[in-house]
């Protein structure tokens, strides 16, 4: 088995969605549909088709693609939030993810409680989280708001807390969605410094971005996704060139 070499192995993965035009999920609507023999309005949609890649230890893989290309679906698959329709995904290490805003905080709980709850999600005991607690509070710059329920947080505060937790749980794999755009410039720089540091300490990173500069600067490999398929896969300069060729004409037209 070569499974120890690669932290993420994605083999021919496809993800199929039924597009529900109106899904109420009640017996009533089911009954009405059943009685009325309403034509099924659902559409089929492949969010990902035949995607394969491997991510080795300490490598950073950038994923680029336009909105709706399947990037978020791919990240959700890799983090186990959704399951593939076809193919197989193996993840051989602790994944910590930053998807959009927040990493599964409970809105009613304070930041303090959420830190411990999130720690438990990543498999840490209370004691292990106590050792990390100060660093998280420090990094998130939340100060006196640490005992406020997170439902009262601004999106910036929420993101800072999420990022602080995600990097402190000793991930072997870090999955970063384009969240870094939410914070201010100073915090963004802090986050990139942190990512740089994690890269050096052999953490594998799966990085999704619209920004070509970040992919070029950051990643060892890159994948260009369009309509759920891999269009290009290779070194960042090759992939970015392809991406630019295919997307720029339309950008020029629309701007």
């Amino acid at each position: 088995m070569s499974s120890s070499e690669y932290l993420i192995e994605v083999d021919n993965v496809s993800k199929y969605y039924k597009l529900h035009h109106e899904r109420k999920g009640t017996l009533q609507s089911w009954f009405i549909n059943f009685l009325g023999r309403k034509k099924n309005l659902d559409e089929d949609f492949w969010a990902l088709k035949d995607v394969s890649f491997k991510l080795g230890r300490g490598k950073t893989l950038g994923i680029i693609g336009r909105n709706g290309a399947g990037k978020s679906t791919l990240l959700k698959l890799v983090t186990g939030i959704i399951q593939p329709t076809e193919g197989r995904i193996r993840v051989n290490g602790r994944v910590s993810a930053m998807l959009e805003l927040g990493t599964g905080f409970h809105p009613e709980l304070t930041a303090r409680d959420n830190i411990y709850l999130n720690g438990a999600i990543y498999g840490f005991s209370k004691k292990e989280m106590e050792q990390r607690y100060d660093r998280i509070v420090d990094f998130s710059e939340l100060g006196k708001f640490i005992d406020t329920p997170v439902k009262h947080y601004s999106s910036g505060m929420y993101m800072r807390l999420a990022f602080a937790v995600a990097i402190t749980v000793n991930p072997e794999i870090l999955v970063v969605d384009e969240v870094l755009a939410v914070g201010d410039a100073a915090f963004g720089r802090k986050c990139y410094d942190e990512l740089e540091r994690m890269k050096k300490s052999n953490v594998s990173i799966l990085f999704v971005s619209h920004g070509m500069g970040e992919i070029e600067r950051f990643c060892d490999e890159a994948i260009y996704l369009a309509n759920g398929r891999i269009v290009a896969q290779g070194t960042p300069p090759e992939v970015l060139e392809m991406y630019e060729q295919q997307t720029n004409p339309s950008f020029i037209n629309t701007h």
């Binding site: 999920g25 939030i81 995904i89 051989n92 993810a97 709850l117 999600i121």
Partner: protein, 284 residues
């Protein structure tokens, strides 16, 4: 942690995984308890006060307002009926507290996945931890309420026997039974929201079809066995009563069947949960 293989879906794998996530179950349980008692002055003392207050209500209703007809010859022989008549509030409380564990678990546990939708959509962890933690939180309350129950049992002069050693066994399998039910309901309600309304009515019916306010021989004199087979709660409550109230030695076959029902419902519920929770990240 965070390791997974999308092709592993057996109960055995899930159970091992669940054990690895025991700290999460603990944290979620504490969170449920904390949020329940948030902004109440007495906090967890309510779990202790609740049975005592209920005892007064039952005393008012069933002893003062609607007095039961006293059985005959109670001064000569201490029959079953006499014991019930003499300690009516204790009789009802034993069954009612066990029932409340069931009913409260269902009404809160059923929403375990729906109310954590934001977490489920953002991060992977075994989703059954949510269902099991919600039952555990209610179970902790149930265990706390046993303290005043024992007090009431002593006040009524019933006392305890060695049969009380069987109590943890019945508690454990009752807990498993409820976990199975909640694993099933919590995921089923995601697909059929109407279940919340159905269960509201069903719980009321279930309450009256379970021997809580009465004994089996009073209401189902000829169909006792059938009711025990169809309604596991009847068996559990009968077991609690045998151990805590009547001090019967529980019948081995009866107890064995009751416990096996708990295991069976747990396995079926868990199996359904594993199958149906795979697409939770999409449908929530």
């Amino acid at each position: 942690m965070g390791r997974f293989d999308s092709s592993h879906t057996s109960i055995w794998h899930s159970l091992i995984n669940l054990y690895r996530y025991r700290e999460l179950v603990k944290q979620l349980t504490l969170k449920d308890l904390k949020l329940r008692y948030k902004s109440s002055i007495l906090g967890f003392l309510w779990s202790l006060a609740n049975p005592l207050l209920m005892m007064f209500v039952f005393y008012l209703v069933f002893v003062v307002l609607l007095p039961q007809t006293p059985p005959q010859n109670c001064d000569v022989a201490n029959t079953r009926e006499c014991r019930i008549y003499n300690s009516y509030t204790a009789f009802i409380l034993v069954g009612l507290l066990a029932w409340n564990f069931t009913a409260n678990s269902i009404s809160t546990g059923m929403m375990a996945l729906l109310s954590h939708a934001s977490m489920i959509k953002k991060v992977y962890f075994p989703r059954e931890t949510l269902a099991i933690a919600s039952v555990l939180a209610v179970f902790v309350n149930f265990l706390l309420s046993l303290i005043p129950l024992f007090l009431i049992i002593f006040i009524n002069g019933i006392g305890l026997t060695w049969y009380v050693l069987l109590l943890p066994v019945i508690l454990f399998f009752h807990f498993m039974f409820i976990c199975g039910v909640i694993l099933f309901l919590s995921v089923a309600v995601v697909y059929f929201r109407d279940l919340t309304h159905i269960m509201e009515v069903a719980l009321t019916a279930w309450f009256f079809l379970t021997p809580i306010l009465y004994t089996m021989d009073r209401v189902f004199p000829s169909a006792q066995q059938l009711v025990y087979w169809l309604n596991p709660m009847a068996s559990f409550i009968e077991s609690y009563r045998a151990i805590l109230f009547f001090h019967y030695s529980p019948e081995p076959f009866f107890t064995l069947r009751t416990c096996l029902t708990g295991v069976l419902v747990f396995v079926l519920g868990y199996y359904f949960f594993i199958k149906a929770s795979r697409s939770l990240g999409e449908v929530l």
